[in-house]
């Protein structure tokens, strides 16, 4: 554990390590409270994991939905979060989160100019049957952000490879969702790309980074990873960062906020903590679990929630497709469309493929007799009817699919043999699936029964928008691999002011963790899209207030 250096290269009140949502929120609020803040980012660009994501912020009973006349209540929101937690949340942290999420998003609207929109028509994951679930309005996204407003930072912000640059959520659904990607308005998207109009997480980070860097003049240093926390009398007083191969000592008079994401690109950590044999990530390749080393060295406690049903997907890597110089992994949404299912090596279905909250725990099913994970790896199976209508990743209908990625055969049996699946099993599965599918039914797993899934990947021209028979040759199949999105089961244990807790139970003075660096004890055993961004905003807001002495 290092102590103060002989000379500081920079002295501020608050060091925010990272430049995603949590770091930027903490820096803005600390700045507004009279503190001098700085952002230290390991990557060559700003925006963190949030910039790669869908940019949803899940806030029950938010002011934007109320303005639209959509009914909700704090009680309903609490019930829904209790349902998600499944008994694994820490009540004090969850209460603190829920009490402050709305003040936080309203603060950034009023004080930082972030322009929120309530997303119409998108239900909660577990709507309509979960306690407190809502049919629409709880997801906030942002208005389009003009990248030019970032001035000199425009070129130094992450743009996502996972979504087209400038599509608003409501446009996506109005254009038919992911199943109707061939019918989107690409003329409009081309215009928005040409004028750098950003939506999704990159748009949201645009608003927040503008507020921090342009409006407030908070300095940011890219390619400046924090390498070590500096401690004096048990308190974190600064950091040793690295800049151009040299030490860069930054004093933090009030504290250091670790907001550098999880460990998605530390494959060994991810495999061990997430309990899978393989791990890949859709995140920027700079999210490597540094927070666990930095805080671990000063005695921080680690905490975890069950990895069983957080946000993790299965997907693939299109050969030759890269981002930031690394192979790009995509989450697979194809399984939610008609004419597509998943099977295991036995050729059997095992889940509602359209609802990842259903498939994820079933993928983790453990066969105690055989000491094996029988549903891993999953195989995506589809037919020519799928190919004629829907995309696969960035491959549009009619475009040849890479042989290295997709296996093709004239019969299900031949396909199974090529993929290493039990041919009898696959034939039996399709023999059961197809008659039901022609009627739009899935009596086994209820594919297409969740309104959220229907909204996202369903084709409204089908009786069941997620179900169609797989009977038209040729048949296609591909093996899928785990793809993380930065939301991990293990993180730093924090208290109600976002302070990192020591292994002996007391908060470590001067050390905070927010966003995906902090364990998800406030959420517990479940996940709902938009809660990761909501956590980052809320805990960043609370950390900033505490650093400014306003807690």
């Amino acid at each position: 554990m290092a102590s103060e250096p002989a000379r500081w290269d920079l002295e501020v009140d608050v060091v925010a390590a990272g430049s995603g949502l949590g770091a930027v929120c903490a820096a803005i609020v600390a700045h507004d409270g009279g503190q001098q803040a700085v952002l230290l980012e390991k990557a060559p660009k700003l925006g963190g994991v949030c910039a790669y994501g869908g940019g949803e912020v899940f806030v029950p009973n938010n002011h934007k939905m109320r303005a639209l006349g959509l009914a909700d209540s704090d009680e309903a929101g609490r019930s829904y979060f209790e349902f998600l937690a499944a008994g694994f949340a820490e009540p004090e942290l969850q209460r603190r989160l829920l009490d402050n999420m709305r003040p936080a998003v309203e603060y950034f609207e009023k004080e930082a100019g972030v322009r929120w929109l309530a997303v119409r028509g998108l239900p909660d994951y577990y709507s309509p049957d979960a306690p407190g679930a809502a049919a629409e309005g709880r997801y906030l996204c942002v208005e389009l952000f003009d990248g030019a407003q970032l001035g000199p930072w425009q070129r130094k912000t992450f743009l996502t490879p996972h979504f087209p640059l400038g599509v608003l959520h409501e446009e996506l659904y109005a254009w038919g969702g992911l199943a109707k990607v061939t019918e989107w308005n690409y003329e409009l998207l081309g215009q928005r790309i040409a004028s750098d109009q950003r939506a999704w997480g990159q748009g949201m980070m645009g608003w927040f980074l503008k507020a921090a860097l342009v409006d407030r003049g908070i300095p940011a240093h890219v390619e400046t990873p924090v390498r070590e926390l500096l401690v004096e009398d048990g308190a974190v007083v600064g950091v040793r960062a690295e800049q151009e191969g040299r030490d860069f000592f930054v004093r933090a008079r009030r504290g250091v906020v670790l907001a550098i994401g999880g460990y998605d690109h530390h494959r060994e950590l991810a495999r061990r903590y997430e309990g899978v044999h393989d791990w890949n990530s859709a995140c920027p390749p700079y999210v490597e679990g540094d927070h666990l080393v930095l805080a671990g060295e000063v005695g921080a406690a680690l905490a975890c929630v069950p990895p069983t049903n957080l946000a993790m997907f299965f997907g693939y890597q299109i050969p030759g497709e890269e981002h930031e110089g690394k192979p790009l992994y995509r989450s697979s949404w194809e399984c939610g469309c008609p004419h597509a299912i998943w099977v295991n090596r036995a050729g059997q279905r095992f889940c509602d493929e359209s609802f990842y909250k259903d498939y994820q725990p079933r993928l983790r099913a453990w066969d105690g007799q055989k000491q094996a994970l029988p549903n891993q790896p999953p195989f995506l199976i589809f037919d020519q009817s799928y190919r004629d209508r829907y995309p696969l990743g960035s491959f549009m209908p009619g475009q040849p699919l890479p042989e290295e990625l997709v296996t093709q055969a004239d019969t299900p049996r031949a396909l199974a043999e090529k993929l290493g699946i039990d041919p009898d099993g696959l034939e039996a599965t399709l023999a059961r699936w197809n008659p039901h599918a022609r009627r739009g039914e899935d009596p086994d797993f209820g594919k297409g029964s969740r309104p959220w899934a229907v909204r996202l990947t369903g084709d409204p021209s089908y009786p069941n928008p997620c179900v169609g028979p797989i009977e038209r040759p040729p048949y296609y199949g591909m093996r899928l691999v785990p793809v993380g999105v930065g939301i991990n089961s293990h993180g730093l244990r924090t208290d109600a002011d976002a302070r990192v807790v020591h292994v002996r139970g007391h908060p470590i003075p001067g050390l905070y963790a927010v966003g995906n660096s902090a364990a998800l004890l406030d959420l517990g055993g479940g996940y709902q899209s938009g809660t990761s961004n909501m956590r980052a905003i809320t805990w960043g807001y609370l950390a900033g207030r505490h650093l400014a002495g306003r807690s």
Partner: protein, 195 residues
């Protein structure tokens, strides 16, 4: 459909440039994102490139068919994507004395993002391959100077074409500039070749 043209000049005999350009093995490695090329005949070849499409990189295979060999001044070609819905064409145009005009009209003023993506593409090209080390001869008519113009047109197909058009032009512009400069840079590095 994005169409780019880049012209640069050097104190070189135009015949020297022609002799170099007509043999694609000489300059294939200068093409941005070059992975490999296979010559099928004097006029046909299959190329594999890693190309930037917006913020991601894709590996693209396409067939190039040379439609015109008019030495020492002009090579024209068409291209057809093999794994992407893409077609297009382009060519090299060489003139002595720098007195010729670009064949294409000057590009319209482009948006900030287009210029940014172009700068980004240029940045990545240089990071991967190093900057082409050459000082351009001033583009005035000058005895002994030759002008090399490289043109490229891409016409993406499919429903996403209007969006791809906006994404492709910036890296194409950077790649055209990079290729022309690398060709002349390679020739200028041979002292005996100077005009």
């Amino acid at each position: 459909m994005p169409e780019v043209e880049y012209t640069t000049t050097a104190r070189l005999p135009v015949q020297t440039i022609w002799d170099f350009v007509r043999e694609m093995d000489n300059w294939a490695g200068f093409v941005a994102g070059y992975q490999e090329h296979v010559k099928e005949s004097e006029s046909d070849s299959v190329w594999t490139l890693k190309g930037d499409v917006g913020v991601l990189t894709r590996t693209v295979k396409f067939r190039v068919h040379v439609t015109e060999w008019s030495g020492p001044e002009r090579v024209a070609f068409t291209l057809q994507g093999l794994n992407e819905p893409l077609q297009g064409g382009g060519g090299f145009h060489m003139q002595q004395d720098g007195s010729g005009r670009p064949v294409l009209p000057a590009p319209a003023r482009r948006g900030l993002l287009a210029r940014w993506l172009e700068a980004l593409a240029r940045f990545f090209l240089r990071r991967r391959r190093g900057a082409p080390q050459r000082a351009e001869v001033p583009a005035t008519a000058e005895a002994g100077a030759a002008r090399l113009t490289f043109r490229l047109r891409l016409d993406p197909g499919g429903p996403m074409a209007p969006m791809l058009n906006a994404m492709l032009e910036p890296p194409m512009r950077a790649a055209a500039e990079d290729l022309a400069n690398r060709i002349l840079g390679a020739l200028e590095a041979r002292p005996a070749e100077r005009a």
